[in-house]
């Protein structure tokens, strides 16, 4: 399947729109986070939620799993969590006299890696290997992840106590980093009214299927990106590398993931081709966690530096 027809675009738009409104009913006034999460899902990437506790990071991840009708597993990362607690372990079956693989919680469509920065680096890297390779190796046997597979990791801000900050190389594996932010006064009052009485997730049903999501992912790869557009992406990446205020610029993988998400956004806008608007809309979310400003690894600073670059680099 190579052609991307208008009916395909309309179909994907419909799926995304249904998912979006379903998730919005769970998370009041967090449309940006919802949208980025869905774009990440359709682009085949993983999402890093970075925010203070209690603003709905886990709720977002759960809602995402619920609307696509996939399995949702949650791993609470703690300093004593072992890699086998994540990936799974081979257990000797006394009756059959064989080792049996007992899959860990990572084998799910949507994996919520809660507070990933609390775990030891060893456990973190086991998790990140699953994300990068879409597979896990235990005792010489390779187990594939279910499709679609998406990790939504949450992370408390690095300056909080008892955390191991994700190294730059690991952060690069996440397609986008967003923060949810505190709800508005109205949304918060609403939340106190409803969420106290019942679980917001209980009323959320699946609006699409895993197959549809996988199919959409495949179709979206055929969205057109013209040479000028690719040149624009490259000039953005170049700018992060040559900016004197940035110690570490974007990797080539960043560009690939930026273009993938932009293709999703293009389809959501009803287009069969990517425009610089798509790139500009996503560049801050997709690129800013991959750059390291000279003045300190601060998400806000990185985002503002990214904004400066967007304002400086001419559109092709």
């Amino acid at each position: 399947m190579t052609a991307l027809g208008n009916d395909h675009i309309t179909h994907i738009q419909a799926i995304a729109q249904k998912s979006r409104s379903a998730m919005n009913s769970v998370l009041d006034g967090k449309d940006h986070a919802v949208r980025t999460a869905l774009i990440t899902l359709f682009s085949g990437g993983h999402l890093l939620l970075e925010d203070v506790p209690g603003v709905g990071k886990t709720l977002l991840a759960k809602a995402l799993g619920r609307v696509v009708g996939g399995s949702v597993r949650r791993i609470q990362f703690t300093p004593d969590l072992l890699p086998s607690d994540v990936v799974g372990v081979s257990i000797f079956n006394q009756e059959k006299r064989t080792f049996e693989f007992r899959a860990g919680p990572v084998f799910a469509n949507v994996v919520i890696a809660d507070e990933i920065n609390r775990a030891s680096p060893k456990t973190q890297s086991a998790m990140l290997e699953c994300m990068a390779e879409n597979q896990a190796s235990v005792d010489g046997t390779t187990y594939r992840m279910p499709q679609p597979f998406m990790v939504v990791a949450t992370q408390n801000p690095v300056d909080m106590e008892g955390t191991y900050s994700l190294p730059e190389a690991q952060r690069d594996r996440f397609t986008a980093r967003i923060s949810i932010g505190y709800p508005s006064t109205e949304a918060e009052m609403d939340m106190l009214d409803h969420h106290v009485e019942y679980d917001p997730l209980s009323r959320t049903a699946a609006v699409t299927t895993l197959d549809e999501v996988t199919q959409a992912r495949e179709l979206i790869r055929h969205v057109e990106a013209s040479p000028e557009l690719r040149a624009y992406v490259v000039s953005l990446l170049d700018a992060t590398r040559s900016d004197p205020a940035i110690a570490l610029g974007s990797s080539p993988r960043a560009g690939v993931q930026l273009l993938r998400t932009a293709k999703v956004l293009a389809v959501l806008a009803g287009r069969g081709y990517v425009t610089p608007d798509d790139i500009q809309a996503l560049a801050v979310d997709v690129l800013s966690h991959r750059i390291v400003p000279r003045e300190g690894d601060d998400p806000q600073l990185a985002a503002s530096l990214m904004g400066d670059i967007l304002r400086r680099v001419p559109v092709r």
Binding site: I178, E224, S226, E228, S304, V315
Partner: protein, 775 residues
């Protein structure tokens, strides 16, 4: 920690109001002196081609100084970013060039070394001299101050224009057209003198100018393109002269003889014409006029004691002879005026005056540049010559009776100051002789007839063997020796009539000629003639014929003594010897060498009044054109952007919108996307404009990033013009008067880099296969 506002999707990052300092600049900015050097070199080469016109090189140095000054000052000024950005270098160059022209051409008019109004007038009159010199010389010529002034001013102006076009507007191709203008000078004035190296010089100038844009960049392809363009221009340069109308050739006029001045005062070389042994046919004509009047070129009125010359008059370019001439002065209603027609066909006459019987009423079949002097009804070419003219003159033949003339009352002397003037140094003998000859005359008509009859009497001998002028002393000799030809006869009668208080002037032209058939005549060069014209109240200027021989005809009926009340023919013979008795033998004076000097003076006087204002008007027009140039180029750019096929328009609209925004003094941030621009512009537009703008954005976006442009969605040329006009209006509404004026006269988009969407589109075409494989 709350979300950063820049993270929201609906509002993409807002660029600063200030354009990014690191914006890419034009490559040519790196070396502003390269276009200047190219311009200077091209202009110097172009002047080399002009050298074909001249026999010497003294004109070259001031011209060279002017070019170097203009180009050098331009390069220095353009090194200042502010001046470069506003294009004001040209204005400073203009001022410098004007001052430099004064110092180079008329340093003597500025004794204090400071430009003064007098110096300007001096320069203008020198330019006028130059125009006259152009008519008076054939190549190769000596470079007169007038020529030099024209070249210094003209080439200085062209250098400013070319420099502005090359350095500011980056349009060397338009500058090349101006170079062709210089090439036209030697082609028109010195066609036969042109050699291959003149051609090579202008050719090299052209190529240098075409290359100027690429010298700094060294793009081979572009350079090749320029050479091709240069070659094409050369072909044009060769072809252009062939397309030009044939230039008037003036045969049988050896270089540097006084005949060259005939255009100014035909009276002065009557002698040479009469003397001409070859009786070449000057013109032929047909008329049914039984009087067979002479055909007048002009009337000379002003007499300074030495020279007779036409009275200077203010040239009015709207007094067009083809539109009809006024009724002659002083003709009363009861005087017989017969409307007649003459069909004149010039064979070999290159005059600034058109031969016509008096008093012409309308001229058919000549250019509108033939104008008339209302006081003498002379028909004068405003920069055209009578060469090969073929025309019809309707004229009013004033035919008074002798009785009417006799009854005419004397005129008021104040009204005819020039026509009665006799300078103090005119010998008294003229007036005394006139008194003697006309003693007994009862009125002015009788006096005039007495003078004419006396001159026609046997005492006088027609002879071409006389000095070629009618100065006071020459007339004195004439009255003593009683030998002369029409110049002396008419001069003497005119001077004597004036001494008697009758306004008089000398008509100059040709006699009626030789009949060749019924009503048709041939006029030859040796039938050139001069005759007195006297003014009588009620009849106007009336012709007499005192010349007894040569080509002269009979006196007109009203000048015949028998036609009058009294026959005074005998009386006229009584005082015959008086003049020679009173004047003892004087030395043989033959002053032919004296003629060039008065001619020069005459030349200057005429040109000062007639040629200064065309130079002023021309200068003003050129300045206006210069000022309008950016706006004109801007209009052409707009048209070229908004027309063409759908793809061209899709990008052109956005280029034009960007240019319009830049014109309004607003930044056009290149980091913004099309949608971004669309959203920012839309609020200022009405519903219609918003929809058009959205379509324009769709089209350009699809062309740049999508599958290509859908021709039906691209706004048409009319819609695009409409849209751009709306956007411009939206911009101007927020601007002050000064800013609006600047935007109109000096569009900034000409001096800044406007994002070129077309490059994108072109790349898009070549890169489309690549994008397919990638997808």
């Amino acid at each position: 920690m709350s979300a950063d506002p820049t993270l929201t999707h609906s509002a993409p990052p807002q660029p600063d109001p200030q354009p990014a300092s690191g914006a890419p600049t034009d490559r040519a900015d790196a070396a502003p002196w390269i276009p200047a050097i190219a311009t200077g070199l091209a202009m110097v080469l172009a002047t080399l081609s002009v050298s074909a016109v001249f026999a010497d090189w003294s004109w070259w140095t001031p011209t060279l100084v002017m070019i170097l000054l203009v180009v050098g000052s331009g390069a220095l000024l353009r090194a200042v970013p502010v001046i470069r950005a506003t294009g004001s270098a040209v204005l400073v160059q203009c001022v410098l060039a004007v001052v430099a022209a004064l110092y180079l051409c008329v340093p003597s008019a500025m004794p204090l070394g400071v430009p003064s109004p007098a110096a300007f007038w001096e320069l203008f009159s020198m330019l006028g001299d130059g125009v006259n010199d152009i008519y008076a010389t054939t190549a190769p010529a000596q470079s007169t101050p007038g020529f030099t002034a024209i070249l210094v001013v003209g080439i200085g102006l062209i250098t400013i224009l070319v420099d502005g076009l090359v350095s500011d507007l980056r349009s060397p191709k338009v500058g090349g057209i101006l170079l062709l203008l210089i090439w036209v000078i030697p082609v028109v004035l010195a066609g036969p003198q042109l050699a291959w190296y003149h051609f090579a010089a202008i050719g090299c100038a052209f190529v240098v100018l075409m290359l100027s844009r690429y010298l700094a960049v060294r793009v081979r392809r572009a350079a090749a393109f320029s050479v091709v363009a240069g070659a094409l221009a050369l072909v044009l340069g060769v072809g252009l002269p062939l397309l030009l109308p044939p230039v008037a050739q003036r045969p049988q006029q050896p270089l540097g003889t006084p005949q060259d001045i005939t255009v100014v005062n035909p009276f002065l070389d009557l002698h040479a014409d009469l003397d001409a042994s070859d009786d070449q046919l000057v013109f032929s004509y047909t008329t049914d006029d039984p009087l067979a009047p002479p055909l007048r070129l002009t009337s000379v009125t002003a007499f300074d004691g030495t020279t007779w010359m036409p009275e200077p008059f203010d040239i009015d370019p709207f007094a067009v002879a083809a539109d009809g001439l006024p009724r002659p002065d002083g003709v009363a209603a009861d005087t017989s005026v017969v409307e007649r027609t003459a069909q004149i066909s010039i064979q070999d006459l290159d005059e600034q005056h058109l031969p016509a019987p008096y008093a012409p009423a309308a001229v058919d079949g000549v250019e509108r540049r033939w104008i008339y002097d209302p006081s003498t009804l002379t028909i004068v070419g405003n920069g055209v010559l009578s060469t090969d003219a073929d025309y019809t003159v309707e004229y009013r033949s004033v035919e008074p009776t002798a009785g009417q003339l006799a009854e005419a009352s004397p005129v008021d002397a104040d009204d005819f100051e020039t026509a009665l003037a006799l300078p103090a140094d005119v010998p008294d003998v003229i007036g005394e002789t006139a008194e003697q000859v006309t003693a007994g005359s009862e009125n002015q008509w009788e006096s005039a007839v007495a003078l004419q009859d006396w001159l026609r009497s046997d005492e006088f001998e027609y002879s071409l063997d006389a000095p070629a002028d009618a100065s006071g002393s020459a007339l004195e000799d004439f009255l003593r020796d009683k030998r002369g030809y029409c110049v002396q006869f008419s001069g003497a009668m005119t001077a004597m009539a004036r001494s008697l208080g009758i306004p008089a002037r000398i008509g100059v032209g040709f006699t009626a000629g030789t009949p060749t058939g019924e009503d048709s005549y041939d006029v030859r060069l040796n039938q050139a003639h001069a005759w007195p014209e006297l003014y009588f109240e009620g009849s106007g200027w009336v012709r007499f014929e005192p010349t007894p021989g040569g080509p002269a005809g009979d006196p007109p009926p009203w000048a015949d003594a028998e036609g009058g009340d009294q026959g005074d023919s005998e009386e006229t013979e009584s005082p015959t010897d008086a003049p020679s008795n009173e004047e003892p033998e004087a030395g043989e004076e033959s002053p032919p060498a004296e003629t060039p000097a008065p001619e020069a003076a005459d030349d200057e006087q005429t040109s000062a009044s007639s040629s200064a204002w065309p130079a002023v008007v021309g200068g003003v027009v050129l300045l206006v054109l210069l000022a309008a140039l950016p706006a004109v180029i801007r209009i052409f750019r707009r048209r070229s952007r908004l027309t063409g096929d759908a793809e061209h328009r899709a990008e052109g609209i956005w280029e034009e919108i960007a240019a319009t925004t830049i014109d309004a003094g607003r930044p056009w941030e290149r980091s913004r996307t099309l949608r971004d621009h669309e959203q920012r512009l839309s609020p200022a537009l009405d519903e219609d404009g918003t929809a058009l703008l959205a379509r324009a954005a769709d089209a350009a976006e699809s062309l740049r990033y999508g599958a290509g442009v859908d021709a039906t969605t691209v706004p048409s040329t009319e819609e695009a013009i409409h849209l751009v006009a709306r956007i411009r209006r939206a911009h101007t509404e927020e601007m002050g008067v000064g800013a609006r004026l600047r935007a109109a006269v000096l569009p900034l988009s000409l001096f800044r880099r406007v994002p070129r969407g077309r490059e994108v589109a072109r790349k898009r075409m070549s890169g489309s296969t690549e994008s397919q494989t990638k997808a």
